[in-house]
């Protein structure tokens, strides 16, 4: 198979070929490693490439499969891990100078589960320093770039994972999401990413950002591939005190059910408000497609929705500042300027600010649960804009008004994070400059299955997810 064809295989396409021994895991891994070598100098998607280890595992995998021991659909699949996910024997920097030499002696639970399923870790991806930011403009490991246009950002904080998947340098990746850090790079890189319900996927041995909002989850080109990775990493973990003892639904069973009768909610004065035109057009187009498949769309009022940015910033400032308190005093100069400033400011909120923000979350969640009596999912764009130039700290969304990047970027993604709900980002088109647009679908607690069902149905009749950047 030609290298380009190999790299365009999805997990769903590669797996049966690997199982039937029509495709060698050594050949697939080598193609991926060569692709990394060809594009990483441009994209800076990887901090560490695990070439020798990946080759060794690929060879062992080949022997294993030839001997008749096939572990399942991730066996022999090259994947990447965001660099805040502990990977045994591999440096795990969290995008930070402070952890530049940290080599964990055990895996994160999610890494261990992927390895046990036979996945081959090809590298650790670049990220916004300590996950506290949304651009992956990393002062220590270099600016990560968007494969659709390397002058544009890949968003963040899982920007490296987003760029890596889109650029065909792995068949899937893990990211982490606190206020949007899987969904934002999924949107601007034209791939699929899911933020799970808090507690659905273990955070054990993942460097935290904000304890009450952190999650880990896959980023892939297709919804079906996302399900494949999700099924392996999700589920109760006794090592994570926040892990939910809630049985995992069969997410694959619902994939072929379509969306007939599914009720989609748009939040009044919010879901389709304050957007770049191309984003609005793409999301409205996606809703029309879903209506054509039999889904219904209705508007739901959510009076408390507009407090979300302040609550997000308060919680996402205070909790990281608590985690970083010691380093901020002993190694302040080792932080990048943006993260250092955010951490300093996070020490200056009052306790009552933080508590009121946590009370706001209860209120917001209550309104969503009330809304779920009428609809099955809510939809918004993932981002109100497409990828901005690298290094930009402000963005224009509409009316030529510039806005601060951090608040603008979490306009929609902060909401499910605050309300403790799962949310999927799905590619739904491109802007006139060829930059991807993402749509966010928000579900009931622990109902990732419905999100996957909707996303898979949508991808069954559209081809946005099959497009590939010309890099």
């Amino acid at each position: 198979m030609a290298q380009a064809d190999l790299l365009n295989l999805t997990i769903a396409q590669a797996a049966p070929r690997l199982e039937r021994r029509e495709l060698s895991p050594v050949e697939l891994t080598e193609a991926v490693l060569q692709r990394i070598g060809a594009v990483n100098a441009t994209l800076n998607a990887y901090i560490t490439v695990c070439a020798p280890q990946a080759r060794e595992v690929a060879q062992a995998t080949e022997r294993m499969i030839r001997a008749g021991y096939y572990l399942g659909p991730l066996h022999g699949i090259p994947i990447a891990l965001k660099d805040n996910i502990y990977t045994r024997g591999v440096r795990t920097t969290a995008g930070a100078k402070i952890l530049a030499d940290f080599v964990p002696d055990e895996d994160a639970t999610v890494a261990a589960r992927l390895k046990r399923a036979g996945a081959i870790v090809v590298g650790k991806t670049n990220m916004h320093e300590f996950a506290w930011g949304g651009t992956t403009d990393n002062p220590h490991y270099g600016t990560c770039r968007n494969p659709w246009n390397p002058e544009r950002f890949p968003a963040g904080s899982s920007g490296g994972s987003g760029a890596a998947v889109a650029a065909r340098t792995c068949l899937g990746a893990l990211g982490t999401d606190t206020g949007g850090s899987i969904r934002l790079p999924s949107s601007v890189n034209g791939i699929v990413g899911i933020r799970p319900t808090i507690g659905r996927v273990s955070n054990h041995n993942v460097v935290p950002l904000a304890w009450t909002m952190d999650t880990v989850s896959p980023m892939t080109r297709t919804v079906e591939d996302c399900v494949t990775m999700f099924e392996v990493i999700a589920g109760y973990d006794p090592l994570d005190p926040q892990s939910a003892e809630v049985p995992l639904a069969d997410c694959r069973a619902g994939l072929g059910r379509g969306v007939r009768g599914l009720r989609i909610g748009l939040i009044r004065d919010y879901s389709l408000t304050h957007l770049q035109k191309a984003v609005g057009d793409a999301v409205r187009g996606a809703l029309k497609t879903l209506e054509g498949l039999g889904a219904g769309v209705e508007e739901i009022a959510m009076p408390s929705i507009h407090g979300n940015i302040s609550a997000q910033l308060t919680i996402e400032s205070c909790e990281p500042s608590a985690y970083h308190q010691e380093w901020l005093r002993t190694r302040p100069g080792d932080y990048g300027e943006d993260v250092r400033t955010l951490l300093e400011m996070g020490e200056m909120y009052l306790a009552t600010h933080y508590i009121q923000a946590q009370r706001y979350r209860s209120l917001l969640r209550r309104e969503f649960l009330e809304g779920f009596r009428q609809v099955d999912v809510f939809v918004t764009p993932t981002l109100p804009f497409t990828a901005t130039p690298c290094g930009a700290t402000e963005v224009v969304i509409e009316n030529n008004q510039t806005e601060d990047m951090l608040s603008a970027i979490m306009q929609f993604t902060g909401v499910p994070s605050l309300a403790g709900l799962p949310a999927l980002s799905l590619p739904v088109g491109f802007d006139p400059d060829g930059l991807p647009v993402g749509m966010q679908v928000i579900g009931r607690p622990f109902d990732e299955a419905t999100l996957f069902r909707l996303g898979h149905a949508y991808q069954g009749v559209t081809s946005w997810h099959t497009k590939s950047p010309r890099l």
Binding site: P241, A311, M345, L350, A357
Partner: protein, 69 residues
Amino acid sequence: MKKEAPVTRETVERLCVLADLPLPPARRDKLVAPLSGLIAAANELSRKIAEGARRGVLPVTRFPGREEA
């Protein structure tokens, strides 16, 4: 309630003392403008959530289901 006072250099200085965060003067000055906006927004949210009708709303905190070993 009196009009919102901006965060000043002196405010940041006092907060640094309270937080035991010895920032040099240049860094303190840098925080005044962004902190003003953030604190003003946090105060506005706090006012809304503190309203009497919402007294029964609990914060999102919980004990873990199991204790760590």
